[in-house]
Subunit: 113 residues, 2 copies
């Protein structure tokens, strides 16, 4: 499932989208750049990943969309809803749990059951 980001990506688009849009509203194209920049180029999501993610999250009521006409071009701004923020908290918790589990295994020098 991986080329540009090489594995370890499941759940990441939803998590980072909900997170970034929980602080400020953004439109898709802007969000894609924001993810790339904010992650230090570590996470690069193509439009074909981000737009379906946005639509899915909106459909589930986790994002709210608002169209704006800017310089003769339509932009669709999204922001995380209250429900989306609850989901975000749960996702962050899951993410840290998995993370700690993997770290524990990677760091382990000795012993096994």
């Amino acid at each position: 499932m991986a080329k540009t980001n090489a594995a370890f990506m499941s759940g990441i688009p939803e998590l980072v989208v909900l997170r970034l849009l929980s602080r400020s509203q953004m439109y898709g194209y802007e969000l894609i750049r924001a993810i790339r920049l904010a992650s230090g180029e570590s996470i690069v999501l193509a439009e074909g990943v981000v737009y379906p993610t946005l639509h899915g999250l909106e459909h589930r009521g986790l994002l709210k969309a608002k169209e704006k006409l800017v310089k003769g071009r339509v932009r669709v701004y999204y922001q995380t809803t209250a429900k989306g923020k609850k989901r975000l908290v749960a996702l962050e918790s899951d993410w840290h749990r998995i993370n700690n589990g993997v770290e524990a295994i990677l760091r382990r020098l000795i012993c096994q059951s």
Copy 2:
């Protein structure tokens, strides 16, 4: 793709299997417990996940298998090959990169591009 481990699992089975079997050989059933215990119950992989992973890794030459008869029962011990260890190094690198990227986004309090 997620129930027991709720998302964030892509690539994880390959990573933790290669890692644990790079230090000591184990058989599948033992490995499943080891993953659960070593991760502090954070990562629980079912047999239907682990066995196909083992077979796939062996087929790719990243693991070496060795059958043993113990107490009248066949056990298949696996250990990570040199090629598998190279793959492990690459995977750990990828994992830390993605991880840092996500952390950077989650921790970020201010600013966006």
